[in-house]
């Protein structure tokens, strides 16, 4: 059976909330009920049928043909199935995801995978700031699952991350892994200033170094660890180049000593 497909008719005039269009919510619904799903974020009513041309198919595989930076909360709260969006998305894509796979063909806005618990988010373009991070007032960010960003990530990637894995194949902005509680953040490109700011535990790979590392991190030398090979094996299906880079010695910085200091940043070993 082919995918349930939403083809964008024209760019939305308001921000739209696409959290209603996930496999678990659409499974078993008729075309008319799907078309009547409300997506508006203003007082102007906007239904799925108004914004998209709908082609019925397997609701466990949802495809959006055409994206837009006003598409907010794509795949938010999804528990199973797949969503594939050929284009950009707005804020909070994959927020609080509990399973399934969300594939974004373009760029994603801030708070992608915010508070995510399980599943996979793959972003072909760039991600905005605070990927995996908590919203204001929340104490914990990402709690599980895997996020892969093929491009760059904005500031505070993995903020308050508790568990799970974020891979950024491009660069990361300032304060990557800020306030991390646990989990793993891997940045293949250059990492902005002050990675791991106030992290208590967790692991950051700044594979191409960082502009400025806080003096509250202590150098514990260069190590070739068994744990890196386990991580490499796990990462291999998501990013083979990053996996290959992991299998080498890395310089370990422990910190942030401004808090409990049990986190770690791995950066290139000096030549």
């Amino acid at each position: 059976m082919s995918a349930l497909t939403f083809t964008l008719r024209e760019a939305p005039l308001q921000r739209v909330d696409l959290a209603a269009l996930t496999p678990d919510r659409l499974l078993g619904l008729s075309e008319s009920k799907i078309a009547a799903s409300e997506l508006q974020t203003t007082r102007v009513r906007l239904c799925a049928g108004d914004l998209f041309k709908i082609r019925m198919g397997d609701a466990m595989q949802i495809r959006f043909e055409g994206g837009h930076e006003r598409f907010d909360r794509v795949g938010a709260g999804m528990t199973k199935g797949e969503i594939n969006i050929a284009g950009d998305v707005g804020i909070q894509a994959g927020r609080l995801m509990q399973g399934g796979r969300l594939t974004i063909g373009g760029n994603a806005g801030p708070w992608s995978a915010s508070g995510m618990k399980a599943g996979t988010v793959a972003i072909s373009g760039h991600a905005g700031e605070r990927i995996g991070g908590p919203l204001a007032g929340e104490t914990v960010g990402m709690r599980g699952g895997v996020v892969v960003v093929r491009g760059d990530a904005g500031a505070r990637a993995g903020d308050r991350m508790r568990r799970g894995l974020i891979i950024v194949e491009g660069k990361a902005g300032i304060y990557a892994g800020s306030r991390m509680i646990a989990g793993t953040l891997v940045v293949r490109g250059r990492t902005g200033s002050l990675p791991g700011y106030l992290m208590s535990r967790g692991t950051i790979f700044a594979m191409n170094g960082s502009d400025v590392v806080s003096p509250t991190f202590a150098d514990s030398g260069v190590h070739e660890l068994v744990a890196h090979t386990l991580l490499a094996s796990y990462i291999q299906p998501y990013s083979s180049e990053v996996a290959a880079m992991l299998r080498r010695p890395w310089r370990r910085l422990i910190g942030d000593m401004a808090v409990i200091g049990k986190g770690e940043i791995f950066c290139p070993a000096p030549n």
Partner: protein
């Protein structure tokens, strides 16, 4: 006792009687196969019989780097005990004292099952607060800082409640030399069977035991019916041409694995023939009333 004769070797019409046990498996790795083997040998030392060792343990097989979680050479080890609590205790003590301490070692779950035993979850406290938990997908590991780097260990390993202990072959020959040759030949054949161990020294027990003793408090004593020096005492099960007896005890993760191991061992002895090997094969049982698993030798013939 009625007997069959195969390739000139007498095969008793009897059966091995085995028992249900709790079991687990581990994958131990190190920088080299030598050190992985060293850790495994140390961990499975003094683990020949639950009668006096608390558990029975041994090496199942060596693992190539592409078979281990961290891509290093490894060894698969099996442990068997009579209860879950004893198995947990033995696992924790043996990994803690023998694998954690071995240079460059790491230790992973070697069995996946619904029920689990604590592995790293019990050993992590050695890290004194510096240990790091790392969850990768559905697997959780502990990284414990040690003096040569880090000891990496799975948080848990699987528990099997359908394991079998006590499969056995009794090998009888005309001399100590030929009997040992036949038994070693069988042990080598059994080594190729997965999911089983032969826990005695080199896989061979020369002091087979019977249940109980004339002495109070002694739970097992020499199997006098199979001691050649007691022939003629009235209770001997040995013929006049038998001068030496050895036993192979087999523990397996499944009854099928134990049967396969016994079949491989019996076949090897029979193929060796009576001139260079054994004159007779038997098996130990308790009349069939104690253990639920019965392996009849006649069903295991090639």
């Amino acid at each position: 006792m009625s007997q069959l004769t195969v390739n000139g070797i007498r095969v008793d019409d009897t059966f091995a009687e085995a028992f249900g046990m709790r079991a687990t498996a581990l994958t131990i790795t190190a920088h080299s196969a030598v050190w992985a083997h060293q850790a495994a040998v140390t961990m499975t030392g003094f683990a020949t019989s639950v009668i006096g060792c608390g558990c029975e343990a041994g090496i199942d097989r060596s693992l190539n780097p592409d078979e281990t979680p961290d891509g290093r050479p490894g060894v698969r080890v099996l442990l068997f005990a009579v209860s879950t609590s004893e198995l947990q205790k033995q696992l924790q003590n043996r990994v803690g004292q023998c694998v954690l301490t071995s240079p460059g070692s790491a230790c992973y779950a070697g069995l996946e099952a619904d029920e689990e035993l604590k592995l790293g979850n019990a050993l992590r406290f050695f890290g004194d607060g510096w240990q790091v938990s790392k969850r990768l997908g559905d697997k959780r590991y502990w990284r414990i800082p040690v003096m040569d780097g880090e000891f990496v260990c799975s948080a848990t390993t699987g528990l099997s409640k359908t394991a079998v202990g006590g499969g056995n072959i009794i090998v009888m020959g005309a001399s100590a030399e030929t009997t040992l040759a036949a038994t070693v030949h069988a042990v080598e054949a059994i080594a190729a069977v997965p999911d089983v161990i032969v826990p005695f020294p080199g896989g061979i027990a020369r002091s087979g035991s019977k249940v109980g003793s004339k002495y109070k408090g002694v739970v097992a004593s020499t199997n006098d019916a199979y001691c050649p020096t007691l022939k003629g005492s009235g209770r001997s099960a040995l013929d006049s041409d038998i001068a030496s007896v050895l036993e192979i005890v087999i523990d397996g993760l499944t009854s099928t694995a134990v049967a396969a191991a016994m079949r491989a061992g019996v076949r090897a002895i029979l193929m060796l023939g009576p001139e260079r090997g054994a004159l007779r094969i038997g098996a130990g049982n308790y009349g069939g009333k104690l253990g639920p698993h019965h392996y009849h030798l006649k069903d295991l013939l090639p």
